[in-house]
């Protein structure tokens, strides 16, 4: 217990307290921190706040030491004072201040070294701030009130308070000026949202500048390619690294650079005019589309970043509106950029990341929409048709995974809990350290489930990632192969999905056959797991077919259908899933010239849950095995072959379902006949059966 002090000693101490410069400084900084903290909390996203968060952090850190020093001295000075409400509020404020400072440091740590700030620290920081406003406010108000009373008696005290206040205000003003100056000087990079001067802005009467694509921008005008690109920046270290790595070899990433797409686009430009390639651009190359690159006279019709990034992060995440009509019927926005984004130099890079992490509201609000979860969002591009504008004949449906899925057993209007949607298969949950991990907005997830939705968008293209040597292609293609075979496990939908191969194959044969009799083989194929038709996509290009082989015990091949020849063509007459789209004159649409397509001559694909049977038969008639017609002349699917003399039982029947992304004719057409290019073949499923051979007439 300290000795009792005289009144003059009290006054002396008070005056000393008021005149200590550090007190004024700490008070001014506290005021600044409080004000900016409130601004960050209460004001909508703005430029001042972006800089305030930086200055707030710097000041906050710099202020810890003087604060501690001041508080120690302050406590010492007033510890002997009577325990009034002033003293009580002071001590209480101290506790909050300590928590506020610690949480502030922790938040800084998270924003600098982590991937995002956590509620664990941001909440206490916010709560203590409000607490401080009350307690420290009361504490200071009393102190000032007392000082104003003392002021009348003592010129010295008056002066000290005045100095204190001035210093405090100066510190506040200084910080505000610095923040204000930053606000004036460091502004977000401005975009050049202009079409090239020779841009054909109205290629189709009455339609917008991006027609025949249905895609458009929120302004209806051009978007600077920079405003939708730079996905690498999103995947920069400490941010969405994992998601970026997944996206790199994904189909969305190479949507534009895809050698097939580029070739077909150039054929379309040559045959139909460069402006017509805008039709493709909405889904394959939006950055180039919106920057006005798909214009006559542009050599490659793709902006470099458009080419490199295809469906970039922002190309999906900046979409504000989609229409289930398909054909890229969406509205693209240009998200506001933070002041330090898209600037060169390590400091700018650091500050951009820092501001996003420390002040993430706008980033999350604009780039993560609830809509992204819906199948209708995907439908914008995964549903395609050719409109009269393009084919000049009339509306023709093209690939349409969305309606296909909607009509399937995977979609239940009445029982949403049984429905499996696009993202649940194609963007399964994966373990995550990504800032985007966790999602309380998804029905079966939580804010901190430590998972994010894979941005690999696994599908069926096992060709391009390797052909174009994309980063991580091998791992990616291995996953696609697993995917195609139905070996990819998705625990979160296991209760709603099916097990086993995606498209199982089953051979139906009698257990025995007599020499001289006919052996009928039925190969059953079922769409077991696929959420839409199998195969799907452009069926003028994609092929899946049954390869079947019957060998006897000595290895003699008695039947082989579905072979791929030396030129990489599938044998004539093979049982194939594909389409033969035709033009007005019945000729094949064989170079993906969809703008001339008026319908299909033939299409075979498996609707979810449905079955197809390929029939084969072997007879002992001893005729040319290539060209046998059975007696009835029935020409059901499958080739008819003859059993040879001298065969030895038992017979082994092997069947498999092959799949490839590109038919050979297209590759020949695109890259010149005799090209080495051929699409790899994946065996989706296979089966084997044995048939005993018995003597004639038994």
């Amino acid at each position: 217990m300290q000795a009792k002090l005289t009144r003059s000693e009290w006054n002396q101490r008070r005056i000393q307290g008021w005149s200590e410069w550090i007190g004024g400084l700490v008070e001014g900084l506290t005021l600044f921190l409080t004000l900016t903290g409130l601004a960050l909390f209460a004001l909508p996203f703005n430029l001042f706040n972006q800089h305030a968060v930086v200055v707030h952090t710097v000041v906050g850190l710099a202020y810890v030491l003087p604060l501690a020093l001041y508080l120690v001295r302050h406590a010492r000075r007033y510890s002997a004072f009577p325990s009034t409400h002033v003293k009580f509020s002071g001590w209480a404020a101290l506790v909050l201040l300590v928590v506020c400072v610690i949480s502030g440091i922790a938040l800084t740590w998270e924003a600098v070294f982590g991937t995002r700030i956590s509620a664990f620290w941001s909440l206490p920081h916010l709560i203590t701030t409000f607490g401080l406003i009350v307690l420290l406010g009361a504490h200071l108000a009393s102190a000032y009130a007392r000082a104003s009373r003392a002021r009348a008696e003592e010129a010295e005290a008056r002066q000290a308070v005045h100095r204190h206040r001035s210093l405090s205000l100066a510190a506040l003003a200084f910080c505000l000026v610095v923040t204000g100056a930053l606000t004036l000087v460091i502004r977000p990079v401005s975009f050049v949202n202009e079409f090239p001067s020779d841009y054909d802005g109205a290629p189709y009467e009455g339609a917008g500048p991006f027609s025949p694509s249905l895609a458009t921008t929120s302004t209806g005008g051009a978007f600077d390619p920079r405003s939708l690109s730079d996905s690498a920046y999103c995947g920069t270290s400490g941010c969405h690294e994992e998601i970026y790595r997944e996206w790199l070899p994904s189909v969305h990433r190479y949507a534009s650079m895809d050698i097939g797409f580029q070739k077909i686009q150039s054929v379309m430009a040559a045959q139909n005019g460069a402006t017509s390639t805008r039709y493709c651009g909405g889904c394959h190359d939006p950055i180039s589309l919106f920057s006005g690159t798909k214009n006559i006279g542009v050599e490659h019709l793709s902006d470099l970043s458009g080419y490199q990034e295809g469906i970039s992060c922002l190309a999906c995440h900046a979409i504000a509106e989609t229409d289930v009509k398909g054909n890229a019927n969406y509205v693209m926005t240009q998200p506001k950029r933070y002041a330090w984004e898209l600037r060169d130099g390590p400091l700018a890079g650091f500050l951009a990341k820092f501001t996003i992490r420390a002040y993430p509201g706008e980033h999350v609000r604009t780039l993560s929409r609830r809509m992204f979860k819906t199948p209708e969002f995907c439908a914008a591009c995964h549903k395609q048709f050719i409109d009269q504008e393009v084919n000049q004949v009339g509306w023709v449906q093209l690939q349409n995974q969305y309606d296909n899925w909607r009509a399937s057993r995977w979609h239940h209007d009445e029982h949403p809990e049984e429905t499996i949607e696009c993202r649940e298969c194609h963007m399964p949950l994966v373990d995550s350290h990504d800032p985007a991990a966790g999602d309380e907005a998804d029905f079966n997830r939580t804010r901190d489930d430590g998972k994010h939705r894979s941005h690999r968008f696994l599908g069926a293209n096992q060709f391009i990632p390797l052909a174009m040597d994309l980063p991580g292609a091998e791992e990616h293609v291995a996953l696609i192969e697993k995917w195609l075979k139905g070996e990819y496990e998705i625990p979160e939908i296991a209760d709603r999905w099916r097990t086993g191969p995606a498209v199982p194959i089953e051979i139906e044969v009698p257990s025995e056959v007599a020499l001289g009799d006919e052996l009928d083989i039925k190969v059953h194929l079922v769409n077991n797991k696929v959420g839409h038709d199998f195969p799907t996509g452009p069926l003028d290009i994609i092929q899946a077919w049954v390869e079947i082989e019957v060998v006897d015990a000595e290895g003699q091949v008695l039947l082989h259908s579905g072979k791929v020849d030396e030129e990489h063509f599938v044998e004539e007459g093979s049982f194939m899933f594909k389409a033969e789209p035709v033009d007005r004159y019945g000729n094949l649409i064989d170079r993906h010239n969809l703008w001339e397509m008026v319908g299909v001559r033939f299409k075979r694909s498996l609707f979810p849950g449905s079955e197809e049977v390929a029939n084969y038969s072997l007879t002992c008639a001893g005729v040319d095995p290539k060209h046998d017609l059975d007696a009835a002349g029935t020409l059901d699917t499958g080739a008819a072959f003859a059993l040879h003399e001298g065969i030895v039982g038992p017979l082994t029947v092997r069947a498999r379902l092959n799949y490839r992304k590109f038919d050979q004719y297209l590759l020949d057409f695109a890259f010149g006949e005799g090209t080495e290019a051929t699409a790899p073949i994946t065996v989706i499923s296979s089966a084997e059966a044995t048939v005993r051979l018995i003597e004639e007439g038994r």
């Binding site: 020779d198 509306w395 094949l588 008026v598 499958g638 006949e673």
Partner: protein
């Protein structure tokens, strides 16, 4: 007055000073008359012959690519020793020696009279725009003082043999068809004719199917007879380089026997032109009576026009025809430059002499009393801007050629002096060569555009021989130029093919295999244009033999081509589309090939964005007209579009369909042929060709073998498609090969299990084969399938579905009731094979 008295002295002084100053000023300021200086442009001089360039001149550049194309050849190694035989230079001949479609080059060499000389060389085109020296492998070995070269098929075996004229004896090599040559000069009797031989002309003048040769004799060069010096233009010229110092030599007319042997008949035929110092000859039908005439260019002596009487003799009509040009004539060209349907002449001359442009004026009915007076010529060189422009130069090789494909014939003139330089008598004075662009604006005129046509025309050389060829087969004409004592120049035409062209090769099955002398009229944009095979002369050189070039200007096709074959038979064909090379053998269907060097242009489209825009505008109009079924209009729009982008796949494909719709099946076939020529991977093009050859359309095209070949081609490109298999079944069915037809339809049905056609026609084949059971089964299947069509599957909105539920094809416009088309309406009938297939 008092003032005067008081100040008299001062006044006088001031006045005197003022006067002196004034005088000085007047003297200083008086106008001085500048003395006249040579070359001064004084008032009152006008130059009406000169004309300003029109605003738009072709942006075509001739880029020298000789070395990069592999033409390692230098003319005249060694020192000039001041003899006429050394100064005449040598020529170049262009022709397809190995039959690969690409023009090869033979470069004649010369050298000092005494001493070593480099040999002449044969360069084979590799087919990629480069050449390889195949002289040694070819067996041609000639190091004489070579003059002219001409490719000629002397033995009627369809390959090009080679004739070379020289100072000494001429040479003839026979080609065995593989590019290997055998020297048959002795057998041909050439050894009997030593001399100073220059220009060579080739024709079948007696129309016996055997090629004949006309060989110009220059002078009787005999150094012993001459000595001393003469003077020309202040420079001492030794007599040995002055042609006037020597007696003129006679010319040879070698009447071919068709086996590589000849009979020299010049004197009997009245074609020896003994008084002319001949350097060049045009051996073509100038008076359009079907018989090749002779026009001989003579140096320092009158030229001669010898009209072929048709009985093996010639009549000298030089004077009557007003073409006895007395100037020193060197190079010759002839073509219908003014488009009035006759051949005009262009002649290059010595320095100080204007070049001549003789416009032909045939006289109606003038032929009554023989050939004399049937034709006259008028020198219009100055009016057209090609006369006075040659005054400062010595002109040699020349030729009419449409280098910018605008449809008007332009001219080139290769210049080089015969006078030694003052500094070094072993060198002759170099000169700039000239490129004349023919503007048809107003009355028409040639403008010298050398200054904007590449470095070569700005440089000075001692030029001599030169030939026109399209060495890179890109549809524009290039030049190969022989320079005395220099490396050969290959001038690649860059930009000429921005406008389209068609290359034409006429062939005959026997005799005059290259149809030399055939008269071709091409209808381009409603105007008939004339060309005659191998009518041009140049100087000691031969433009690509057996090949004609038509620049199409703003048009996209030769609508009709009318050929008067040697002998007089006339045939017509067409259309022929831009960017193609057409080989038409008499009596056969023309074969269409895309010019290989033009494929890049055809796939990339026009250079300028404006042109590309315009192309797509026209294409759009065409499409709209086509869909509105206004096919004649669509055809016009497609043709307009194709003129800007020849070879455009979609335009060709749909143009052909439109032609078919308006009943021009011949045109349609030709256009589909063009389409597959440009895009050999065009499945649809082959399919359409196959369909066009099936019965049902123009019977002229019914050709099951051709149809089968086209379908097989289509199937080979893409065996995974069902349609060619079905159509091969149809071919087999029509040929009566029922087993094959049944197999084909069975395959087609396996390939396309939805195919009603395959079942229906398979049933028909079975029925015709007597297999009623199979026919019934197949017909039933077809029936069932036909009824099921149009019913959607269980998947929603699937690929290929339309709002009408049916494919939006235009196929049904065909005859639905023919036996091959009845399957389309199957659902309306029962499935009784007897009724259906009877």
């Amino acid at each position: 007055m008092g003032l005067w008295r008081r100040r008299r002295k001062a006044i006088l002084t001031v006045s005197a000073l003022a006067l002196a100053g004034g005088a000085l000023a007047v003297y200083a300021l008086r106008s001085r008359v500048k003395g006249y200086q040579a070359g001064e442009e004084t008032e009152g001089l006008v130059d009406t012959l000169r004309a300003d360039l029109p605003s738009a001149v072709p942006e075509v550049e001739f880029r020298e690519v000789g070395r990069e194309a592999g033409l390692e050849f230098t003319h005249f190694r060694g020192r000039r020793t001041g003899r006429l035989v050394e100064d005449m230079g040598s020529g170049v001949a262009a022709g397809d020696v190995d039959g690969d479609g690409w023009p090869d080059l033979f470069l004649v060499n010369s050298g000092p009279l005494a001493g070593e000389r480099d040999p002449a060389r044969l360069f084979r085109s590799r087919g990629d725009g480069s050449f390889e020296d195949v002289t040694e492998a070819s067996g041609i070995d000639f190091s004489g003082l070579g003059m002219a070269a001409a490719f000629v098929d002397v033995d009627g075996d369809a390959d090009l043999d080679l004739f070379v004229s020289a100072y000494g004896t001429c040479k003839l090599w026979r080609n065995d068809g593989t590019g290997h040559f055998e020297d048959i000069s002795t057998r041909a009797g050439l050894d009997d004719w030593p001399g100073f031989w220059s220009g060579v002309g080739v024709a079948d003048y007696d129309r016996d199917g055997c090629m004949d040769l006309y060989v110009c004799g220059y002078v009787e060069y005999d150094e012993a007879q001459k000595s001393g010096h003469q003077s020309q233009f202040g420079i001492d010229i030794p007599a040995m380089i002055n042609p006037s110092a020597f007696e003129p030599a006679r010319n040879l007319l070698l009447r071919g026997h068709g086996d590589g042997t000849f009979e020299e008949v010049a004197l009997q035929a009245g074609a020896a032109d003994e008084t002319g110092r001949s350097l060049g000859v045009l051996f073509c039908d100038l008076d359009d009576d079907g018989w090749p005439d002779l026009y001989v260019a003579n140096d320092v002596s009158d030229n001669a026009l010898l009209l072929n009487r048709g009985d093996g003799t010639f009549e000298d009509v030089t004077t009557a025809a007003l073409v006895g040009d007395y100037r020193g004539a060197m190079g010759l060209a002839s073509a219908d430059f003014d488009g009035d349907g006759d051949l005009d002449l262009f002649i290059t001359h010595w320095v100080g002499q204007e070049n001549a442009l003789y416009q032909a004026h045939p006289r109606e009915g003038g032929g009554a009393g023989g050939s004399a007076g049937r034709i006259t010529f008028l020198d219009v060189a100055d009016r057209y801007g090609v006369g006075f422009t040659g005054l400062a130069d010595v002109g040699w090789a020349t030729g009419f050629f449409d280098y910018d494909n605008d449809g008007a014939l332009d001219l080139f003139v290769i210049n080089g002096s015969t006078i030694p330089t003052k500094e070094d008598a072993t060198h002759l004075q170099p000169m700039q060569s000239q490129l004349f662009w023919h503007s048809t604006e107003g009355r028409g005129r040639f403008h010298e555009l050398g200054a904007v046509a590449g470095a070569f025309f700005a440089e000075e050389h001692v030029g001599r021989g030169g030939a026109i060829l399209d060495y890179d087969r890109d549809g524009d004409l290039d030049l190969c130029v022989q320079l005395l004592g220099e490396r050969v120049r290959l001038l690649r035409n860059e930009g000429g093919n921005e406008r389209p062209s068609v290359t034409l090769r006429l062939r005959q099955a026997e005799g005059n295999r290259l149809a030399i002398g055939a008269r071709v009229e091409a209808e381009i944009g409603g105007v008939w244009r004339l060309a005659v095979t191998d009518s041009q002369g140049s100087y000691l050189s031969q433009h690509t033999v057996g090949e004609l070039h038509f620049g199409l200007g703003e048009h996209s096709q030769i609508r009709r081509l009318r050929v008067r074959w040697p002998g007089g038979e006339i045939s017509e064909e067409g259309p022929f589309l831009a960017g193609t090379s057409v080989t038409w053998t008499r009596g056969e269907r023309p074969v269409i090939e895309a010019l290989p060097g033009f494929l890049a242009r055809a796939s990339e489209g026009p250079e300028s964005v404006e042109t590309e825009r315009e192309f797509f505008r026209r294409r759009q109009q065409a499409t709209q007209a086509r869909l509105a079924e206004d096919y004649p209009q669509a055809v016009q729009h497609y043709l307009g579009a194709l003129s800007l982008w020849p070879g455009h796949d979609d335009c060709l494909y749909y143009l052909a369909h439109c032609l078919a719709h308006i009943g021009d099946e011949a045109g349609a076939v030709r256009v589909w042929e063009t389409e597959v020529a440009f895009t050999p991977g065009s499945n649809r093009g082959w399919m359409q060709l196959g369909l066009a050859h099936l019965p049902g359309g123009d019977p002229a095209f019914d050709d099951l073998d051709a149809a089968q070949a086209a379908f097989e081609h289509s199937l080979a490109i893409n065996q995974e498609e069902s349609r060619p298999i079905t159509q091969l079944g149809v071919v087999a069915l029509l040929k009566g090969e029922l087993d094959l037809a049944r197999r084909r339809f069975a395959e087609a049905a396996r390939q396309n299990p939805r195919s009603v056609e395959a079942r229906y026609l398979g049933g028909r084949a079975a029925y015709l084969a007597g297999d009623l059971e199979a026919a019934r089964a197949l017909l039933a299947e077809a029936h069932e399938l036909a009824r099921a069509q149009g019913l959607g599957g269980d998947s929603a909105s699937s690929e290929g579905e339309t709002r009408t539920g049916e494919a939006l094809t235009a196929e049904r416009a065909l005859d639905d009731d023919s036996p091959l088309q009845r399957w389309r309406t199957l659902t309306t009938r029962t499935c009784d094979p007897d009724l259906e297939y009877q």
